[in-house]
Point group: C2
């Protein structure tokens, strides 16, 4: 409870700015004659800000509130609807209204600058480090700020359970027999429809089901490159790209990347003109680890560049569905321009963008169901998959298909986004409060992670080991680059239920980071 109080203080102090922006300011003017429902909405938003109704908690039912405040049920309904529009409340079906936070946290500290990687292609030298570190990450820890996956309490386990039972009952044979590449047609048809949300218009026959996004990326990289080829990646980039480059025998060049808007196209263009780059591998939406979101017009320009220099693109969109913007109507509009609802693949006219994604981050990682749309490399991907894994598990493919058929998924995604969005300010506040002076933080527009730069003297790998002793996991920045530029950065997973334990763990991390920043061994 001490936590709630403290947290509410923080919310209270930081709110006024947002409050004005959100247009509620006019309602606070006592000179205006307001309808009852607006007055109630105003009172309730005050209550939310002062912590009467903490973020994540349920507010009284419409009927109960009408009793409490002595107004009609219809007035309360209108007030709740107003607060929902403004992003203070969210409705959960069959449950009620919950307090949420749709503010994009404001940082006291300066934003992270454009990265400055090596300007030369390099062999990947860190694959051993990455593998060792990941072996550690997979060990259970009390507080998992490590792996970028949502806590299982955020996932629809019970619904999936029901669909597993249904598939095993009604599709026994099909779920147990071979499903060869390109995978189950029913699922591919659903994917073709879903991808149109991101502006991708393709046929189910363009899609190949894979064992998660990792296999999709591997197959695409192998299809479009030869050992010894050079690929361009973000900086920082998903460590899997580096590891795979090493596995496949590729060299990488890291392109300066803005933590807000993604890979610098100016720097990319320069690199394309200087080096024999074969392929660009990137995550245009909610990149891992920085959370960068490439604006729509830059996504388009990226594809133009790829056309001009005749190179391929592997686009990893695994976090694409986790946009924080969809919680309010106003946010949604802005997000259209930000790039939250489009991908580079949407601008691909000649099949050079190989789009990859999966259900591992939003539904279940254990089912191993991902997919790719490999464009002109379709046949190479099929050929490679046919003799390496054949396809993903038939059972898994049919479970996902059965689940998607019942339109559970969109409802689940809304709830998942809401849960992560609610967590974001709490994490940002805690980092700002407890981490050493000079800490900078990139507040993402989607995904599951925040990217935190400690003061330069604090070594993140040391922090990682110190935290492990206290059963807290995190990923040190050194894994996301082939250079040493992120040795003081950490990636924190924010996709678990906020609790006293989480709060204490961030406080502990902050104290450890402070020690390291102070040069304390």
């Amino acid at each position: 409870m001490a936590l709630s109080g403290r947290h509410c203080d923080a919310v209270y102090h930081s709110r006024p700015l947002f409050f004005r922006r959100a247009g509620l300011m006019t309602m606070l003017n006592p000179q205006l004659k307001q309808p009852l429902y607006l007055q109630l909405a105003e009172q309730l938003s005050d209550d939310i800000q002062t912590g009467v109704y903490p973020v994540g908690q349920k507010v009284p039912s419409v009927r109960r509130m009408s009793e409490l405040r002595g107004v009609s049920v219809s007035t309360v309904s209108q007030a709740y609807a107003r607060l929902e529009d403004l992003g203070w409340l969210s409705a959960r079906p069959q449950s009620g209204y919950y307090v949420c936070s749709n503010r994009r946290p404001e940082c006291r500290h300066e934003q992270l600058p454009l990265s400055s990687p090596e300007e030369q292609p390099t062999e990947v030298t860190k694959s051993a480090l990455i593998t060792n570190m990941l072996a550690q990450l997979n060990h259970p820890s009390l507080i998992n700020f490590g792996a970028a996956i949502p806590d299982s309490s955020f996932l629809p386990l019970r619904q999936l359970q029901r669909h597993i039972q249904q598939v095993s009952r009604y599709q026994t044979r099909q779920a147990l027999e071979y499903q060869f590449a390109p995978g189950y047609e029913g699922l591919r048809q659903q994917l073709a429809v879903r991808m149109s949300n991101a502006g991708i218009h393709c046929h189910s026959d363009d899609i190949i089901i894979t064992n998660g996004c990792a296999e999709a990326i591997t197959l695409c990289l192998r299809a479009a490159t030869q050992p010894g080829d050079l690929i361009a990646v973000e900086s920082p980039c998903y460590y899997g790209f580096l590891q795979l480059a090493s596995t496949v025998g590729l060299k990488v060049i890291e392109i300066p990347t803005d933590p807000e808007t993604g890979m610098s196209l100016e720097a990319l263009q320069l690199a394309l003109s200087q080096w024999p780059i074969k392929l660009i591998a990137l995550t245009s939406r909610f990149s891992n680890p920085s959370g960068a979101l490439m604006p729509t017009r830059r996504q388009e320009k990226l594809v133009e560049l790829a056309n001009r220099f005749d190179v391929g693109i592997v686009e990893d969109d695994i976090y694409g569905e986790i946009s924080f913007a969809e919680t309010s109507a106003a946010g949604r509009k802005q997000a259209q321009e930000d790039g939250s609802f489009s991908v580079a693949k949407a601008f691909d006219r000649d099949g050079r963008v190989m789009y990859c994604s999966s259900f591992s981050k939003t539904l279940s990682a254990g089912l191993r169901v991902g997919w790719c749309v490999p464009g002109r490399w379709y046949q190479q991907v099929i050929d490679e998959q046919t003799f390496t894994t054949f396809s993903s598990s038939s059972l898994s493919q049919r479970v996902v298909h059965s689940y998607l058929q019942n339109s559970h998924y969109d409802r689940h995604l809304r709830q998942l986004r809401r849960q992560v969005t609610d967590n974001l300010p709490q994490f940002v506040d805690a980092v700002e409060r407890y981490f050493p002076e000079g800490t900078r933080i990139n507040v993402p527009k989607g995904g599951y992670t925040i990217w935190v730069a400690l003061p330069e003297q604090a070594n993140a790998e040391r922090l990682y080991y110190l935290a492990r002793e206290r059963s807290i996991s995190l990923v040190p920045g050194s894994l996301f680059t082939n250079s040493d530029q992120f040795d003081h950065c950490v990636r924190l997973n924010i996709a678990h239920p906020w609790s006293d334990q989480t709060h204490q763990a961030l406080k502990t991390l902050g104290a450890l980071a402070q020690q390291l920043a102070d040069g304390d061994p």
Copy 2:
């Protein structure tokens, strides 16, 4: 019924030889004073031979037979047990006694000779052919002599269904969350125990769970070779080896192979001394397509050769559990020497044999659960898998684990072996009867396929296309070599229930082959 009659004639004519061998001859001598049960056993074996009780059918229950023949229940029980010992009947739990055929079919035609492949390393030139052909094979056909998998009626679908339900109910979270390489420990522990049946003594920590045997082989090939390396394969060999060699960028040299005893070690030794072979890829038990079984002492000698020349071995044991020998005690003893119950990996002292197998051929191909024991290349295999597929589906791994825990598997394997064993003489008889003069056939000691050499002028790819028009699938021999030496051979899958339709399809195939042999376009 016409079929049964005709078939029984065939059985009748070909039986006497076996009959004498099996030692029942003495019982037919009316001068001997026999116990009642032996006399009954004798009468019944006569009935089986004359088709009163056709192969595959259930004989009357012990109680019913005692009524029919006017003898005690105990006499019938003893007679049935005697017939079981002799291989005429097999007991199925909770069902009764079934007529079976444990004779190893005798061929009228000469056996297939040692193969004579190119004596030079070659690039794999047939990968496109293989992929196209397989895309066709995956289309549904009325009669599937193509893919080397058992008909789904041979698989324990209902039991698996129950285990899927149990896992989804009691291990929901674990079945849906990441299971990283090397895979689920419980399953690895079961595998370590199972592999001791084949003489492999390893720890669960030596095992890596994979997406089927195909991924196991891929990971092992990639771990132990570099693009451009040369590997030695059987001739004919599993087309996946050729396709993967092409994918990974390896050259292959085909080693002359005996359809009975497998790869010629003499030819292998010569090749090892002449060429820079990096790795030998083979199937020592029930090789695909020939069904060759490398005798135990040759398996041992193979490993000695690999030691001497310091090369690795990828051993694909996917058909290892399907030995035809286990149906009688006498057969079992012979099979020990034949190699049915051992593998090359059992003789591996320094981790150079990479053992690969899966449950795809015996339980479910759709679950995608295989494994490997990659010896000295363990870490490379883990590293590669970690970033390509992570592991097999958690759900699938736990379903197999749950199934194995209840000792269903051994009972199922016994029944599966029996079903395939019962089919073998029927297929061989039909091929001998309907296929053109000069057809040779290799009768395997295990696995799911028979390898048939048509007269040389009959082109098997042409036969494949002609058969497809009649909704019959098969695999032409050209897929199993990089040369043209098997252009007149076909692989037929015998693992489906014998029926009029199967019989008719073989008759049709025979007529088509006759046309081709006659030079009829």
